[in-house]
């Protein structure tokens, strides 16, 4: 806009402009404004697009982890191979190892091949067992040990297909890749196609993934997430049991009772520093103090819980202080006015009113702790195969176990691509837990929030 003061001094007349007609400069400025606004919108849209991309990747990759291929076979439990004495003595039957059961599986498949009228593609029947999981024989054996009276009869079993066959169903394994693989041949895949047409092989939802234990590298089809969920549960119990009392006690002290001196300042500085320390340093602390110095068992949920408690404390302290601050002073004054001591006023009046905020802060802190991986790797949860669920409560805390994020990391590190989809599936389960916890926190906050 032209400055009216200087225009008086100009001797040459200048073109009169109307404020209704935009000049070039205003047009440029308006264009810059529109561009700036557009950049902002693009930034917000990019952020949301990343989120959508992440969720789509997780769901599409993880959905396959929940499905597994199963084969239905009728297997004759031949007495001459399983119980040679015929006495149905459980000790005799136990002596037959899984090697003895594998030929039964071969015969079962051979019987199906004959029934469907197919040409036998292999010279030896032993090739058939490659289509099934190496744990299938163990499934048979466990069944026979529990039901020894079924020896001699033909029973229909639903067995896990091998990881390669499962990969073929899911598109991971193709005929070209099988040519280089010694675990499976193209003839196996042909046979699998025929069995699928006959309805004997199907890909269904796999509860074993959600409830089962982890398995070794060679049995990717049996790997499950359930035992690490238990490990995470025990860890969260330790975190809840330790960090809530300590955090609330510390906040009450700092908020209500602490005198304003150097000591208290030091504590406050420490708390805000701890909130910013990288999680791996807490892992180092856990390793040095809890495992090397105190000789607690490695890889135990107790140690993981202790480390995560130290990490969650600053979050809980900050949330608790905020809710204590939000209780109006009139409540405290009224309590003091009817004769309560300061501590009685805090514990009987202020704390119950601040409880909803404390609860939501704790739930959010627990949700953050659930997803932490780095400290758990350092206390020994990497490379560990969580293959047995703990049997007692004490064992649950002290026996070595895995946790959900550590299990996901472990699967991501393995060479077999069959584990990748399980890692994505594990992520889906982890995110379900996190979403549930955050929803509970939001609902609680909305239900119990009081506007003073």
């Amino acid at each position: 806009m032209s400055d009216s003061a200087t225009s008086h001094r100009q001797s040459t007349p200048f073109a009169k402009t109307s404020i209704l007609a935009t000049n070039a400069r205003t047009r440029r400025r308006k264009a810059a404004e529109a561009r700036f606004r557009l950049y902002g919108l693009i930034a917000v849209a990019t952020g949301m697009a990343f989120l959508a991309l992440l969720l789509v990747a997780i769901v599409s990759n993880g959905a396959r982890g929940f499905q597994q291929t199963f084969v239905t076979l009728e297997i004759e439990l031949r007495e001459d191979m399983l119980d040679k004495n015929g006495a149905r003595d459980i000790e005799d039957i136990k002596k037959v190892s899984t090697f003895g059961y594998a030929p039964l599986i071969d015969s079962g498949v051979a019987a199906v091949v004959t029934r469907l009228g197919l040409d036998a593609p292999f010279e030896s029947e032993k090739e058939y067992r490659k289509m099934l999981s190496s744990g299938a024989a163990a499934t048979l054996r466990n069944y026979v040990l529990e039901n020894p009276e079924m020896i001699g009869r033909t029973v229909a079993f639903r067995l896990l297909a091998s990881s390669r066959v499962d990969g073929y169903f899911k598109g991971r394994v193709t005929r070209e890749s099988v040519a280089r693989d010694k675990n499976l041949d193209a003839e196996h895949l042909d046979l699998v196609d025929r069995l699928r047409d006959a309805g004997l092989i199907e890909k269904t939802f796999n509860w074993g993934f959600v409830l089962g234990a982890d398995a070794s590298d060679s049995r990717a089809e049996q790997a499950g997430f359930g035992v690490s969920m238990l490990g995470s549960l025990f860890m969260m119990l330790v975190v809840l049991g330790l960090s809530l009392p300590i955090g609330v006690a510390a906040s009450i002290y700092l908020e209500e009772f602490a005198p304003r001196n150097r000591c208290t300042d030091l504590i406050e500085v420490n708390i805000s520093n701890l909130a910013a320390v990288p999680s791996i340093v807490f892992g180092i602390l856990g390793l040095a103090v809890f495992i090397q110095f105190m000789h607690l068992p490695q890889s135990a949920p107790l140690v993981g819980g202790l480390v995560l408690t130290l990490m969650t404390l600053p979050t809980i302290i900050i949330a608790t202080r905020a809710s204590l601050k939000s209780v109006p002073p009139s409540i405290r004054d009224a309590a003091l006015g009817v004769g309560a001591s300061k501590m009685q006023a805090v514990f009987h009046h202020v704390l119950p009113l601040a409880a909803p905020g404390i609860l939501t802060g704790t739930i959010i802190g627990l949700a953050q702790a659930l997803g932490e991986t780095a400290p758990l790797l350092l206390i020994g949860m990497v490379g560990f195969i969580a293959s047995n669920p703990p049997e007692t409560w004490v064992e649950g805390f002290v026996a070595p176990n895995s946790a959900m994020p550590a299990q996901i990391y472990e699967w991501a590190k393995r060479a077999d691509p069959a584990f990748y989809e399980r890692a994505w599936g594990g992520i889906i389960i982890l995110l379900v837990f996190l979403v549930a916890m955050n929803m509970i926190a939001v609902l609680l906050r909305r239900r119990f929030e009081r506007r003073w």
Binding site: M1, A32, F36, R37, G40, L41, A43, V44, G47, M48, F50, L51, L54, I58, N61, I246, A249, A250, Y253, F257, A258, I267, N270, I271, L274, A276, V277, P278, S279, I280, V281, F282, I284, L285, L287, A288, H295, L310, L313, I317, S341, M343, A367, Q368, T373, A374, L377, L378, V382, G383, I408, Y409, A412, Y420, W424, I427, L430, L431, L434, N438
Partner: protein, 493 residues
Amino acid sequence: MSHSWLALIVLALAAVGCLAGRARALRSAGGDARRLHSLPSYYGANAFLATAAPALLLLAVWIPLQPIYVESRVSDLIPDAAIAEGGTRELAMADVRRIAEGLDYAVRRGAMSSDAADSLDIGGGGVRERLAEAGVALGSEPRPEILLAAQRYREISRVGDASLAAIALILAAGGLAWALARGDRRFRARIVVEKGVMTLLAGAASVAVLTTIGIVLSLIFNTWEFFALHSWTDFFFGTTWSPSFSGRGGASELGVVPLIWGTLYISLIALLVAVPIGLYAAVYLSEYAGPRARSIAKPLIEILAGIPTIVYGLFALLAVGPALVRAFGEGGALGLGWMPGGTAAMTAGLVMGIMLIPFVSSLSDDIINAVPQALRDGSLGLGATRSETIRHVVLPAALPGIVGAVLLAASRAIGETMIVVLGAGAAAKLSLNPFEAMTTVTAKIVSQLTGDADFASPEALVAFALGMTLFVITLGLNAFALYIVRKYREQYE
């Protein structure tokens, strides 16, 4: 008796004392609670605290310290000559501990009688088999001095446990007696109990200080040990990182410079992604967006902050890495051949940037909202457009806070572990090509401490030195951010 039983007995005694103390006080007031100094429950609480607190405190201090004391006594029994070839005193002591624990376990399970365990010695031969029968696994036949030391370990531990139990029970009983004797109606129970509770609260608050002290001590001790084994100039100024895994004494080059380079490079890429997007998003949401759009978009962006980093790591490894290779790798869409593999600094940097967007965005949002409306109104009143107001008035006013937010985001990026472990590769390289695999300080801490290296070797101890470096850097950045904000912040009043 076992420690958990001891603690339970003390607590049970304290519970009994609680009821007894309350009853005693009421009795001394002739059944009339109004004649008491404090509420009756305080007398019970007083008895509870007097019984439980000294005994439990003793347990908390004695139990961790007893093994250390016993080990130092027993270690003197093992002459240097008895330590196996290639072993250390710590390994020998670990054997002693294992045998002692194994014998205790066997006796507890009933597989070996207590006398048999006590009289077990090398002379009888076949110690390893006998222990195996009892369910205890040993790697090799133990040497006579080790077995003797293990027996002595058990003996001293037994004496220690017995004296602990005796002293703890005496303390508990004494506390109970004192509380019952003093707890009449004139006793100011509430004051005493409240003082006790205050001590507990202050103790809880000092846990934060203890944690920091623990972190610093554990880092310093192990770093000191490391620098005794490996020169610190090589560590801080060496430009190669190649630990040797050929056992002890191999030539390991442990220079931290390539790791710090990788850390800073990846953090730089992350900030280049996060800061523009986060800042523009914050500006848009606080200045231009209506309340409905804001209430939808802000929580959605916050969700990015709540996703665990292992998810980002997996995303980088399995989705972003291959996508980038398809674009930039050999035979890729752009035909450039810059990217040898899926794990690279660019992969980790991009994903870390996505993770940091909500961090930068919400911190900047708070700061921009704190700028008073009067400044904006003044600028708009002079005829500036909204974007000009933001660029020339609001952002400069908010600049110290925004710089602080960026520094905090940088500190978070430097300390991030899972994304770089999965997404950035394990090769320590000093390279300018962002498409090459590079590794960071945090990834190496994880790999050095989760390998098979024995904990006294420089290869494992270097992780503590790396942790110390990381701790100092992040603490320094945070302190610097706080200093900048405090120094340049405008107080609008």
